[in-house]
């Protein structure tokens, strides 16, 4: 811990001395981009301690594995002539794995923002050329991109399986593109909600519990209601409208109506008006989350 030796009055000078910096200084946009990549790495625990890798990587494996299995099954059964389409529609995959996706968001959304709030690191960011809007945008984009990667890789894996099984390429490609669009929507909606909840508390543990509770409870409640009303009452229309009330069923509804996917919920949006409403609400949730995040970070005392 001794300071750099000063230049000796005689003899060899080892002290490098202080070197100024004359090189380029990047502007806001590039800095925001650097924060984006840094946060994206953090979403998967890359570049951090081994412990912070366990959860995201473990969940990534849990979410990817079934897709791998499905891809293999596709190839095997198609080669025996037993199949002419994939066993599981690409677009249905996020919904099938939704508990795991919810846990991923529950752990990684707080990782992205609660730490900065808890350790009070925000003043260090904001005393730099970065503005609050850059911070929020970078974090939101990073988490959404992370979730998209989480969903896209399994979907693409199943697609490759379908191609290897020599299923009709045009049809499969069309399906996979639509599924990826759906995955993008899921990412935006879930990341927005998760980030907003996480930013409300500096206590990471509570943020995790709150996010998972909201995502899982809402799905559970909506499914339960749809079950009773849709099947018990045979009122699929109302059951369909109920899908607006949970993020997962909301995006599933948009997928079903706008992208022609099979519904994974008990009931999809009944009719075109409902479909439009679903799309509108989805857009509102995304934009609304972003705006609320901006407001939250404007209010945070630095």
């Amino acid at each position: 811990m001794s300071p750099q030796p000063e230049a000796a009055p005689s003899g060899v000078i080892h002290d490098i001395g202080y070197r100024g910096y004359d090189g380029p200084r990047l502007g806001r946009n590039l800095v925001a981009r650097a924060l984006f990549f840094h946060s994206l790495r953090g979403v998967f625990g890359i570049g951090r301690s081994a412990r912070s890798k366990v959860m995201p990587m473990g969940l990534f494996a849990v979410i990817w594995l079934p897709a791998l299995v499905i891809a293999v099954i596709t190839v095997v059964t198609a080669s025996q002539g037993l199949l002419n389409d994939v066993p599981v529609q690409f677009a249905r995959y996020p919904m099938l794995l939704q508990p795991a996706v919810a846990i991923f968001l529950g752990t990684q959304a707080p990782q992205a923002v609660s730490l900065d709030l808890r350790y009070n690191t925000l003043p260090l960011y904001l005393s730099r050329p970065l503005e609050r809007v850059d911070y929020v945008t970078a974090k939101y984009a990073a988490l959404a991109t992370g979730v998209f990667i989480l969903l896209a890789i399994p979907i693409l894996t199943m697609y490759i399986g379908a191609l290897l099984a020599e299923l009709p390429a045009g049809e499969q490609t069309g399906d996979v593109v639509l599924a990826l669009i759906g995955a993008a929507l899921f990412s935006l909606v879930l990341a927005g909600i998760g980030l907003l909840i996480a930013s409300l508390t500096a206590r990471r543990g509570f943020g995790v519990a709150a996010i998972i509770t909201v995502l899982v409870m809402s799905y559970s409640v909506v499914s339960g209601l749809q079950g009773i009303i849709g099947h018990g009452q045979s009122d699929l229309a109302t059951a369909g409208w109920l899908g607006l009330l949970s993020p997962m069923t909301l995006v599933d509804g948009v997928q079903t109506w706008a992208l022609g996917a099979e519904s994974s919920a008990v009931a999809g949006p009944p009719g075109d008006l409902a479909g439009l409403v679903f799309c509108l609400v989805t857009a509102t949730v995304v934009v609304g989350s972003y705006l609320c995040l901006m407001y939250r970070y404007r209010k945070v005392t630095v």
Binding site: P99, A100, A102, V208, V216, S220, V221
Partner: protein, 238 residues
């Protein structure tokens, strides 16, 4: 049981944001029950399915998680647990006191609303309300004890608990039949089945086995939590 610790824990857990989340969930359950009763024709089966899916499978584990970790997690996080540990109170007593608060909260905010929701939706038919109320109570006690232990044993208790409550119990439990014997949900369901009578709901675990496992788990986790508290190392660092 130490009344000061009980008071402190109660104040910490129920003050601030946590109580809003807990209350919101209970209210949600009750509102849903009322709406369903008003607008839908509910058979006892419907009620049972609903309570199983929403309350036992989802609400109870999450509640147990929130109150079990909330009873001691924040104190460990910010280090103020030191003040309690420095007093001449046995570790087991500390655990029991905190568990009491957690269980009371779980009963008040999860088990009782479940019972009420059942009563609203199905009246007294087939003892559904009573069955699920008791099942929820049993589940609440067990989950609270389990998550209290996790909060002491690992710093990432919430995450570990979540993986168990959601992934293990629902995913693995659905695909690996043997695993269902080890699911708290199934034990609670077994108790419910015993009360509602057959046909409404079925559990894969016999009542006798369930009761034994429940007592073992609650007793074991409570005891082990005391042991872990004894050797708790506070990290100011990670």
């Amino acid at each position: 049981m130490n009344s000061t610790i009980i008071r402190m824990t109660a104040r910490a857990m129920l003050g601030g944001r946590r109580i809003y989340l807990l209350a919101a969930l209970s209210v949600l359950l009750l509102v849903l029950a009322v709406l369903l009763r008003l607008f839908a024709d509910l058979s006892p089966d419907d009620t049972a399915q609903f309570l199983h899916g929403v309350s036992l499978s989802t609400l109870l584990p999450l509640f147990g998680l929130i109150v079990g970790t909330g009873a001691i997690g924040p104190e460990i996080d910010d280090g103020s647990i030191v003040y309690i540990l420095a007093k001449p109170i046995s570790r087991a007593e500390i655990v029991r006191s905190k568990l009491l608060v957690a269980v009371t909260a779980a009963i008040a905010f999860a088990a009782a609303p479940t019972f009420l929701a059942g009563a609203i939706m199905a009246g007294t038919s087939a003892n559904v309300a009573l069955g699920f109320g008791v099942g929820a109570l049993v589940a609440g006690v067990t989950y609270s004890a389990l998550f209290l232990l996790l909060a002491i044993a690992t710093r990432h208790a919430v995450i570990v608990g979540l993986v168990y409550a959601l992934a293990w119990e629902s995913l693995v439990g659905s695909f690996v039949p043997g695993a269902r014997t080890l699911s708290i949900q199934q034990w609670a369901l077994s108790v419910t089945e015993a009360i509602t009578g057959p046909g409404v709901i079925s559990s894969d675990v016999s009542l006798g086995a369930a009761l034994v496992l429940l007592v073992l788990v609650v007793g074991g986790t409570t005891w082990y939590a005391g042991e872990r508290l004894r050797v708790l190392t506070l990290a100011g660092d990670d």
